[in-house]
Assembly symmetry: C2
Homo-oligomer: 367 residues x 2
């Protein structure tokens, strides 16, 4: 009997992939990837939720933490954690995806790494918290307020500008993930969750919200998280993540155990709402078949898809292509590359290709 | 950065409550309770899923584990874990409730313990596995087969008889919980999940399924898990758990932080399908108000309910009463007691009462 259980020792290899793939970073900065290739279903266990920190993980005593709401409000307010825990809460299952997810597939050569090392800045939890709108209504938003600055209590003071419309829509102040209180690396004791928007806007260790008449243009949204386009211009404030999918089984580094019937399995998601269709190709996009979507299909959540595939033992090129309820369709690699600079590392939604070789080995491929 | 994350040290008190509440047990036997009073949402983190073992937690090397299907079948089959992992899988969110859950409220005096220590033999996960029907069809079920014996590989050889109709309906051989492989205490590397049926039938560490023409009457289903009725007869094979609910916030041992508006929150579930209604009373059942059910409401899964409550500071008796899609309504304490022997400890579905005192303290009460 253990008061807090742990995985089997035989599952020890299933762990977050820790790296500093963005080059030399500040102390404590870095990233760890969810091992998507080892997981199934749609919920990410809390211990395997991806991490991306700009200044380490602060150790915050909840008894000494406060959330301040100020700026263009009728009445500035400060809340301690105990006060927030008294508010009505809702639970919603949402994915969070880092805007830098899948950046490895923007590099010139296809990296021969596992699925999670490419696409694992993606996790999904049942978040419980209070609608931010409740607190904003209590503070009283001035007519001139159009944006918020959200700031974290980490060493990096991670901060982003958020349109008021999103804050009043489905944004949560999350206090729980998958039933228990937030993990330290997920923003304990509180974080924002902006459903469907790039992950870093769901500011962790949240301690300040300032209502403003425009974006603050913080370091975090000017030095990073802008999308360099092919024509040399950069797009800023591209918040919503695109429609996307990836086959997780089989995927890079795995070996097919022989010809015959296999179940392909993968994940699909969209920042715009529900996934309505996932198509799978085994011939590099020449022909497509509809996969089965695992119910319930929830908005801005991960959707698991499955498709039986009878592999004849010949080389194959596996792809998946997601469509969402707004009619957005996941783009091919060439369509994505036609828009973005080869130096852009953000918002990569291009279709993933896994090359299956005659010997059964599966590798990342550009197609 | 950690390869497998853990809760904040400030959340260390949130843990499974380990006990041996059934009296003197065999070595390794015992129980640990999910701390429902500290959790919210509907998913139970894997580390906090309740435990009930008859002979400890075996350490099973998945490379050396097999599942045997034999008895009244056309072709006995044995599967290793790698073979099962190739099968098509489905993910379903189901609760598991021990048939001994809430036994503490069958004791003569109301125990002044937290909600989880009473009702915490209850957890909910997204289980992923293969329908048992797929393997039974492959083995070919003889016409005379009406039941299965399911046996675990633990020291206790925990075994139960299961009607074939349930095995062919929604029973899963689960390999994953909440995305990752089963935890050791949840039956690693594989367990049955019998949605909506008493927990011990979801046999953990599953290694044998024998098709039979009737129930096997194993030790585990004759010495235990029969319901002693008020007239001295005992009911056997009462598999489906009843419709039930409990308020988790506030609950026993908590203190209301003062009069004013509070959010009541709790869990409801039924072995018969979906919860359709939860009513809440603050006056010991004299008057009721409908609570809000958190969407999505899934079949045989936990449903979170909420209700705002303006506490005026006077003593109150909080209760919740669930109704399911089959029209079953959770019973009062007196209605339950009218049927069952005072010695019966199983399938307690009676309405929970939390007494709120004028000083704000909350205590378990019989009403």
């Amino acid at each position: 009997m253990r008061t807090y259980g742990q995985p089997s020792k035989f599952e020890e290899p299933v762990k977050r992939l820790v790296g500093q793939p963005f080059g030399k970073l500040a102390p404590g900065a870095g990233v760890s990837f969810t091992p998507l290739q080892s997981l199934t279903g749609t919920i990410t266990p809390n211990g395997l939720h991806f991490e991306r920190h700009h200044g380490g993980v602060p150790e915050i005593d909840p008894a000494r933490h406060k959330l301040l709401i100020h700026g263009l409000v009728k009445k500035p307010l400060a809340f301690d954690v105990a006060a927030l825990l008294r508010y009505p809460m809702v639970s919603r299952t949402y994915f969070i995806e880092c805007s830098g997810n899948s950046f490895r597939n923007t590099l010139p050569q296809a990296q021969d790494v596992p699925c999670g090392a490419i696409h694992g800045l993606l996790s999904c939890s049942e978040w419980t918290g209070l609608p931010l709108a409740v607190l904003l209504n209590e503070a009283g938003v001035d007519a001139g307020a159009k944006w918020l600055l959200a700031e974290g209590a980490d060493a990096a003071g991670m901060s982003r500008s958020i349109p008021l419309s999103k804050a009043l829509d489905d944004t949560l102040i999350a206090l729980y993930q998958n039933g228990e209180r937030l993990r330290p690396e997920q923003g304990y004791p509180m974080r924002l969750v902006l459903p469907g928007w790039e992950g870093n806007m769901s500011v962790k260790w949240l301690h300040r919200l300032k209502l403003t008449d425009g974006p603050t243009h913080t370091r975090d949204e000017t030095s990073r998280y802008t999308d360099l386009m092919r024509d040399g211009r950069a797009r800023q404030f591209t918040f919503e993540v695109g429609v996307k999918s990836v086959i997780t089984q089989p995927s890079g580094g795995m070996t097919m155990p022989g010809p015959g019937l296999h179940q392909l399995s993968g994940l699909a998601w969209s920042g715009a709402g529900r996934v309505t269709k996932v198509e799978v190709s085994a011939d590099g996009g020449a022909t497509w078949r509809d996969a089965t979507l695992q119910a319930p299909v929830l908005s801005k959540s991960l959707t698991r898809f499955h498709l039986p595939w009878n592999w004849n033992g010949a080389p194959a090129m596996l792809q998946s292509r997601a469509t969402d309820e707004k009619g957005n369709v996941q783009e091919s690699r060439s369509a994505w590359n036609a828009q973005y600079s080869s130096a852009n590392r953000y918002h990569n939604t291009m279709i993933q290709t896994w090359a299956v070789n005659a010997n059964g080995s599966v590798k990342n491929a550009y197609a």
